[in-house]
Every structure is written in structure tokens, then in C-alpha cells.
Subunit: 357 residues, 4 copies
């Protein structure tokens, strides 16, 4: 039985590279030979035991690769084709999927809905920090990479760009809007880039790291606020001349940023939340106008499926945005433990790492 | 100077009927002779000092009446015409109004937005628990009452129906949806009726009072849940076979109902909040899927303006719903202090009172 | 090889009942034993050769039945289960499906879109006027029938109700709207019922047949207009006091009704078109305000897929509408040629026929 | 009585500069001293008698100016302030305005709706090709010009940009869409710029004039098609690899471009129409999929009101687009007849002229 290498979860604090058999595939699956993948903040939560997964699971949900083998019922693709799959891999036939909410995909449970059910790679099935990964429901999930795009150019599509832009879309950002984005990690940066793409004309990016604020400017921010130097709420109200923002995007997952988003909204404004929280959240009464401010709070889990990936690949292919600079460090798969070490501690100005098996 | 009677706020605990001059009007105003009005839960908050207004202000924001006098610049109406005005009286020219968000009307402040700025009657200007009321921006706010409709039939339009239906609309209830409404006071009942109007096919009403639950059934609920007898969250999940509801409507303004709404939502579902809260709110982490459930929380302040009123009057005129039974008690204006006494203590099965000057 | 009976297209003017082998199924299919089906206006177009299909094709796209056999890869269902499938049977993995537009399903062509590509039964694959039918992509398309509902009660869900309500949804009919529906055949009647379900409060139904106008009233019309007795445009403008309607629904497929819809729209109103046209259409300049009326024309092909069917079954199960009376005539499968004869000539007040194998 | 100069319509073929009294203003009006204005294609229709207006009417609907005088009831502005007003000047209190459809503003008629009723300047009231213009409902319509922006920079906001971007918004262009724009006159160019602003990633501009195609590229087109050299339908299908476009924008007002738009749409795509037509339109049956393509046709009249202008001014102030180059020629007001001569005959590569009183 041929073997491959895979980064597996062993116990809190330990993700290690081990050998595993190259998996078999079912009739609707595809086997992908991974050419590039990356590590996500969520993977660090898994590493730390903050998000529980089963022992032995292969981690990783952002694959770029080449089709090695197709299931017997899969048509429309060919072996050797360069593709990506989204971090979210819906089945296409759940009630959630058919209602257009692919991320809450839940066949067989709660009438076809399951919270976060679309997130399978490195969560409920083996992920892609490995030589090979099985993509379930291949015809729903495999998106060919347009010619001329490198692995690193499309590496943000499966999760980071889909999520960041998703926050912009859920917030219904429109041409001429004023938008604030709290936190400029990879997802916040993609939300900043997405707000620019969607036509926001006053974009305010908040973070504490100069490198991230500089990257925010490069990707489209008109103003940057270092929250260690200035109260971001006061500063955003100053920039907007007291009006507040149309849409505030939360991209960190903390109470402080969540509340700050509410505090900078104009009446009728929208808080679009992308963060993964680890505690109950408090809505401050005044910032919520006691429930009378016509406000909206909306959360978004990374949209997936091949049509979503096609759209994002079209964005990249158009050259409208260049997310290549988000890749700050490169590792071989055999160095993945070092990559986790660097990424988990946000050393050396790391934004995203590229892992190549 | 001719006098009229008006229910004015004196101090916490005291709203009294006093004489005041019949007010003058400006060029864009109309003077309305009030024929019927009512008391709202918000008025009780004012009475108790929980919502501060200035001393001497006339309370009340739900007028049915007859045009007594029109401002010099007002056209399209005539004296003697039967009209209503919404509880919310936008100016029509603020940035908020022009953007379609009339309730957050704020000329001259925060660039034309002000939280709750559209609510003026009995809040920032004299209200309608009086013989006469000045309606500002009359051409924006006066809606003729269709022939054949009584004062009591249209008495819910200015606030209760507009708010209740507004919660249904903000929640984007559609044909075939499952909807739960927490609390069946007048606004919750109108949300129940509104969910029925909008085509929800499984409607679950929650309250503790048998009369209110009976009225909920009459207005369209398919299921009623007495939360003192059953855990409403468990019961709603049972009724929906574990699936949860598409939309949950909060119509009370408490932490308990807010959290219960989140707990009964299916993934991707919407909490539509109508309550006026008096404390910070807590979002339970699990019910919020840690921010990954594709959920929406939306709040709605009573929509106003004459086009809104026209639409609601069309609903009433169509006979699709009959809100007459919500009027459980009737008082003369001179008895308004007794009406407050009854209404504030929810005595005698009171839902809404009709006050006739 | 076991045989079954099937109504097949032979040549223009001839659909006949013949024996065919009971078909095999692939891994994703289900074999349904049809218990009730019906004839659609589209089938009559096929009969007359106005819509071309290949010789020997089994006609019919509205199946109610029992699962006889499941493909090897199908999970979540069991043999013997009572189900329906929509007239439109998307694959669930085309770009169109994943974008939520299941009716334009087109794997492998035009990047995953194909005009009307979701319509397969009795069009591109064998249909259900037969003892058995193969349902493709069973997990996408099979919807269990709730207990207590008869075949005839759910017979309108696969096409007639989905289309009629679809026209209401595409037209964005909302609570308090004024809606006119041109033609009260089965689809127009379901649009009338759908407008009522969605909260329209002035519903005007147009047709020439008294039985159909009477049924329109029963299903929710407030006004009926016999266009042979009155100019429907003038009459609708009279009923609406010159204002026009918010939404006009075309349910016949002719130039006359299409133009009449435009003529009764208020500025900013929407024409929601359901008809199948057989000629180019003309937009009258004045009714279109020379392109400056902020009008919308939207067309809808019957929405399909199991989530759509689940929603429609919930509508029927709720008792909100009763479409049973649309079944005016009943035939055994062996009488299907007579059923076509009656239905094609609209004899004897026929609305829909029930065919039972 | 002080006099001013104004370009008035005399008879078909003749718009001449004459003296008129400087007009009085009512309580809600403002008198604007015009500093820059321009000529629109619609003005040429008026000149030619193709669009009838009354004799003696001052033409022009795109004012940039300084407040000379404010009506007695106008607050929130001051004399000497630099402002623009939209081509469309809604009243703010019609049913249309209150429903958010300001362009179909119609107080007192058809229940508050009137086709094109919001277009008043140079149509139903005196326009702005003059030394002074009266702006009706000043508080609804006057938008201050941000500091640092020149007259020519904001000259496209009142009509050209509002209309062009409006077509993009009505077509619901979103990030990653493919959009074709037929005709690259000033409005088509602004639609091209708007599609870029809104995130379309494949933008195809069609025209016959090399200068206009070059300008289209400068404003955001990825591909340009000279329809005299290539069949634009075939070329667009080639560029999109047979898929078609998500949104096609018609910016000319002819049958040929209207039909071409339909022919390049993918199934489910939207035709967003901006042109002013002069004949009935024909919808080709096949391009319309016989009514079964889930297509939308939507028309847009220039959105107006000060909130709209504020948003557009924010777009200009952000520097995201530079419409300055659209001004190809400059004239003094006394030369306006020559300006009409040049513009009406599209001589000398003219796109827009700036007229300065």
C-alpha cells in the first residue's frame, strides 16, 4: 500500500508529519496530489486544542493541486488537471446547499442543515497538509486553475479570499460606502481588498502591526489606525466627521473588536462578523441603540463550492488584486512543524506560509 | 388663546392631564384634531422614568384624527380629512430618509442620521394624547384613512402593526418559512399576524398568558407555547423536528428571549429583534456557532411615513387581518390616568386601550 | 426484461401508450413507481409538435410516487418511501445549481449553464407518464411527502405551484401589494394563490372563462376581470384608481397579455412573466416609458430540487391553500390518450387531470 | 427686475440664449448661481423636437453652482455654499420618493407616482443652462461639494455618473462578474467605470469610435469591441468562451443594442437598460429562451436627491475614478449655441462640454 506524508493532529500542542496510506476514493471523490497548501489561524486553534478534532486527523483545508485520480462517477474533469478546492466542500444535495447556503451543509441531520457542516477538510475528514487529499463530491468542489496563474497566486482562494470577500458581500458593501475593518491578519486584509473591489470609497483598516497596516494600504485602505496609538472608535468617528461607517467588519474574533464595530456604525449600519469567537459576546446597549437602531449583525463562514472558486479565480486572473505578497514564508512539507512554530507565534512578520509537498 | 387637554410627563411616576394652548403650526405642519389614540409600552417606560423625556412634554405617538388646519406650504390635503400619521414622522429630506431609512432621520446631525431620530411624537416634540397634535412635515406623514374603516380598525397602523410587520419584513420571512415569535404583547401579536400575512406556514407563538396565546392563534399562530409550562427552546425544536426555525422574532426586550431566539434558529437563520432592551445583551457562544453559523441579527424601529401608512391601511382595508380585537378597553381622554394605571399593570387582560378625546 | 407502459411521443399529433422496458438505474438515480401524475400545457405543445422532442421519448414531468429502487451511491432514502420530484431536476453540481439557479442547470456546457437545462423529464430524458420513471440525481431531487397528504393534494407541487409561486417570488410581491395576474389556467391560478400567500392585498385575476374566474376568487383574487367583457387594462386602472399595480404576472405566453401587463404597471412596477412564448415579443414604447420608468421584466422557469419541493409541501401541509380542486378529471394510465384529448381541447371545464398508473 | 441669460427652447431646431428675469423663489426653494453646467444627449432630443417641452423653457439639468438665496423654510445650508443638484429633483414627500424610487416622483397624481416625474429641470421647470436656476425642494436636493474638487470634476455627478452607475447597481453587478456595455457615450463610459468600481472582473465595452473605446479602456474596460469591425455578439461570446455575460448594459437606446444585450446574456443573466428609446422594442424569442431563461430586464432613470449626490461626490473625492477627461470642450454661456452645434453633431471627438456662465 503506497504511503504519503501527512500533518496529523496527535494531541493539544502536537501536530506532526507522519506516514499514512494514500487513501482510496469513492465514486464521487477525486484524489488530489497537493502541490501547494498553507496553514490557517483555525489550524493553530486545532494545534492548541482550542478546537477539538479527532486524533490522527490530517489537518489543512486550503489545497492547490493536480488531479491524480477521479471517482468512477465523476465526469467533466481529467487526470493531470490543475485545480483548487474550497476550504468548504459542500455535497451539493443537502437542503442547505440547495438553498444556497453551502457552508451549513448537513445531509441527514436537522433536515439537511448542520452548523459549519460544509467545513470538512481537516475538521471531519482528512485535510490537505499532505502529499495527497481526497476531495469529496468532486464535481461540486473542483475548480480548474486558469492558465498562467501560479500556485501562490491562487493559494488564498480556498479560504482567505473567500472569507474576506464574503464578509464584504454579507455586509452588502456598495459603491461609495465607508467601511472599517478591524484586524489586518490575512482574512482582514482580504476583507480590506474586498471592500476596495466592491467599491467602498472610504476604507479604514485597524491593527497594531506596522507591516500589516502597510499591507492594508497596499491592498486598498485609505486610512490606517494603529489601535495601540489611538482609540480606534474615536479615530474612526473623527475620520468620518462623526457620521460613522456604513459597514464595520470584524476579522479577529474578540469582544473588544466586536464591540468597537458596533460603536463606529452609523444608525442603520451593518456589522459583518468574520471572527471565530471563543467566549460569549456582549452587545453594548448604547451602541445597539437599545435595539432601535435598525442595525444588522451578520456572520459569514467561508463560502465554498466550485462556482465560488471560479468567481474568485476570475478575480485573481483579472489582476484587480494581487494577493501574492500575503505569502511571506515558504516551507517544504517536511518542514511543516517549523512552519507551524513560526505561524502560531506570528514570528518574523509572517502573514501566510506556502507549504509545498 | 384657546386651550386643549394634553397628557403630559411631569416626573417619573406621573403623567397627568393638563391644559395647554392649542399649538400654532409652521408652513409644513398640520394641526390634527385627535379622534382616537392609544398608549404604548414605550409610554409606560416614559411614565416610569426609564426613558427620559423633558418635563411638560405631551406623550403619545399613535394618532387617528381629522385635519383641523394645514400649514401654508402644505398641498394635497384638505381640512376635515380623516387621516393617521405614523409613530415615526420622518422629515423626508434627511440623508437617512432619502436612503430609505426613515426611522433614523437626523437632519443636521451626524450627516443626516440620528439614532431613533424619526421618533418625534411624545419623545422630542409634543405627542397625541391630547385634543390636538401638530404633525410635522405633513406632506410626508399624513395618510388618508380609506372610507369605511373605523378609528379602532386603523389604530394599530401608526406603531403596532408597522413594527410587528416590520420585524417580519426585516427577517425576510417568505412563503413556506417556519417562524417563532417570542412574546405576544400587541407588537408580538402583530408580528404573528404579519408572519401569517407574509406566508410563513409554521408559526409558533410564545407567551405565558392564556388570553394572549389564544389571540395569537386567532391571528395566525399554528402552535402556541406557554413558556411557564414548557421550555420554549426545547418545545420549538421538538415542533420543528430538530431543524429549528428560519426566523425568530424577539418582541419583548429581554436577555432571556433574545438568547432563546438564537437557540432556536436553524444554521443560517435570522433573529429579527423588535424589543426595546434596557441592559447590555449577551450572545451565547454555542447558539452563535462561535460566529460561524451564517446567522443574522437585525433590529427594526417602527417604519413610518405616509407611504408606509398607506400600505398598512391597504392591509386593513383588504380584511386580510382584523386587529380590532386588540382593543380590549376604551377610555375618554379625561380618564387617561386610569388608562395608564390599567395598561401599565397589564390588568384585566388588557392588550390595547382606545383613548377618545 | 420486465415491461412497463409509457406515454411516448411518436410524431406531431400522436402521443401513444406503449410498452417499454423498466429502465435500469445508475449509482445516483432512483427508480420511482409512479402513483399519480398529470398532463401539463407544455405536454400539449409537445403533442402538437410545437416543442420538439425526440421520437420515442416518454412524456410527463410531474411525478408522485414510491421509491422502487435506489442507486448504489444514494443514501438518506429507503425503498417504499412516498416522494415527489420537481419538474426541474438539477444535478446539484453545475455552476448554475451552485449559484442557486437550478433551472438553468448545464453541466459541461457554457461553463455550467444551459438555457432551461434543468428541465429534463419528458424533454431530454424519459418522463413520468408511465408506470416507472428514473429520477436523476436522486439525493438532489427526491422529496418525501409528509404523512396525511394525498397524491392529489401534492400533485401541483412539481410544476404548477412551483411555477406560479415562483412568479410571485420573482416579482418580489410583498405584504400590501396590488397584483394583477393575466390568465387563470393552472399556473395563473397558482400565481393568484401565491400572491395571496405572499400578502398581496389587492389581487386582480383576468381570464375569459367563468369557471376559472370563480376558482381564482376561491384561491384568493379580490377582483376578477373577464377580458371578453371589459378592457382589462382600463378595468385594472379603474380598480386601482389610476395608480396601476405593483406587480403584473403574465401566465399565458401571448403578446397581448405581455403588453397588457406593461400597461397596468405603476412606474417602477414589475412584470413577472411565466408564459412560454412562441413569437418575438413587442414592448410598447409608451408603456415602457421609453426606457425611463424604472421597470423590471423578469422571467421564471419552474424552480426545482428537493428543498424547493420541501417548501411547497410545507405550504400544502399547512392547509394555507387547497389546490385539490384544481384536479377536475381523473384517468387511468391506459386512458391517457383520452386524457390528452380532453386536456388539449380544454373540454368540460378541465383544469388539471390526475393520471394513475 | 434684474435679468439673466438662459438657453431656451423656441421651436424644433432652435435653442437660443435670451434674457429672462432672475426668478423668485418659494419657501422651500434655493436660487443657485450656476458656475458650470453641460449639455446632455436628452437636450439634443429636445432641440430636435423629439422630446417635446414647452416653448420658452430653459433647458439643462446638470448644475454646479453657488447658493445665491435660500427659501424662508430652508435650513441647513448657507448662501455662498458650493453645491450641486441632481438632474432628478424629487420632492421627498411623494409616495414614490418615500418608497425610495425618487425618479418616479409624482405628488398628487396616480397616488404619488408619475413616470419620469422626478425629472423636472429643463423638462417641466426651468433648467440650468442659465446664469441662475431655482432648485425646488432645496433640502432634498442640494449637495455640498467637498473641498478641493473642481467644477469639472463633479460635473458628471448630477446625471452622467448617477445614470451610468445606476445601471450597474440595477443590474446587480457584483465582484467577479462579467459585464458588457453597449455604446460608450458619456453614460456608457460611466457604466463602464461603474462596473469597474463595483468589482466586475471582465468588462467588455462596445462602440465604433476609437476615441471612445480608448476612453473605455482608460475607465476600466478589459476588452473593447468595435462593432463596425466585428459582430459584437459573436465577439463577446468568444471572449467569454461561450458562456455569455452576467450583466449586459444598454446605453444607447436602439433596438439593435437592446437585442444584442439579450443575445450575449448567460441563462439567468440581466439586461440593464439605460437608453432612451424612440420606438417599440422587440425581444427576440430565442435570446429570451421563449420566456424560460430566468432573465431580467431592468430600466433605470438617473437616481437623484442629495443623498445620491453625496455618495457620488464621495466616489469622486476618493479618487477611485477620474471623470475629468470626459470634458473635451469648454464654452462660455454666450457660446452655448455653438456648443449645441458641436455636441449635437458629435464633432471633433466631443464627449462632454463644460459651459460656464
Amino acid at each position: 500500500m503506497p504511503k504519503m506524508r501527512a500533518a496529523i493532529f496527535v494531541e493539544p500542542g502536537r501536530i506532526v508529519l507522519e506516514d499514512k496510506p494514500i487513501p482510496d476514493i469513492g465514486p464521487l471523490d477525486a484524489l488530489l496530489r497537493v502541490t501547494t497548501t498553507t496553514i490557517c489561524g483555525t489550524d493553530v486553534h486545532i494545534l492548541r486544542g482550542e478546537y477539538p478534532v479527532r486524533k490522527g486527523l490530517t489537518i489543512g483545508h486550503e489545497p492547490v493541486g493536480v488531479i491524480e485520480k477521479l471517482g468512477s462517477a465523476v465526469t467533466g474533469y481529467h487526470e493531470g488537471q490543475r485545480v483548487i478546492a474550497g476550504a468548504i466542500t459542500p455535497c451539493g444535495h443537502s437542503h442547505a446547499s440547495l438553498a444556497g447556503m453551502h457552508s451549513q451543509d448537513g445531509p441527514g441531520t436537522r433536515h439537511g442543515w448542520k452548523p459549519m457542516g460544509g467545513w470538512k477538510f481537516g475538521n471531519t475528514i482528512d485535510g490537505c497538509q499532505a502529499d495527497y487529499v481526497v476531495v469529496p463530491d468532486a464535481m461540486v468542489n473542483l475548480a480548474p486553475v486558469p492558465e498562467g496563474l501560479s500556485d501562490e497566486q491562487v493559494l488564498m482562494c480556498p479560504d482567505i479570499l473567500s472569507t474576506g470577500l464574503g464578509g464584504v458581500e454579507s455586509g452588502r458593501v456598495r459603491v461609495g460606502d465607508t467601511v472599517a475593518i478591524f484586524a489586518q491578519g490575512p482574512i482582514g486584509l482580504c476583507a480590506t481588498a474586498g471592500a476596495r473591489l466592491a467599491g467602498a470609497t472610504t476604507i479604514i483598516a485597524v491593527d497594531a502591526l506596522p507591516d500589516r497596516l502597510a499591507m492594508a494600504r497596499r491592498l486598498g485602505a485609505d486610512h490606517v489606525v494603529d489601535h495601540t496609538q489611538q482609540d480606534p472608535v474615536a479615530e474612526i468617528l473623527r475620520i468620518t466627521d462623526g457620521r460613522g461607517v456604513d459597514v464595520a467588519i470584524e476579522a479577529l474574533g474578540t469582544q473588544a473588536t466586536f464591540a468597537a464595530c458596533l460603536r463606529v456604525l452609523r444608525p442603520g449600519g451593518t456589522l459583518s462578523s468574520l471572527g471565530v469567537y471563543s467566549t460569549d459576546l456582549t452587545i453594548p446597549l448604547a451602541a445597539f441603540a437599545a435595539g432601535l437602531g435598525d442595525n444588522t449583525i451578520v456572520t459569514t463562514l467561508c463560502p465554498g463550492g466550485k462556482e465560488r472558486m471560479r468567481r474568485l479565480l476570475a478575480v485573481i486572473a483579472s489582476g484587480r488584486i494581487d494577493l501574492g505578497p500575503l505569502v511571506t514564508h515558504r516551507f517544504k512539507l517536511e518542514q511543516i512543524e517549523a512552519a507551524y512554530e513560526l505561524f502560531a507565534h506570528q514570528r518574523d512578520g509572517v502573514l501566510k506560509v506556502a507549504i509545498t509537498p
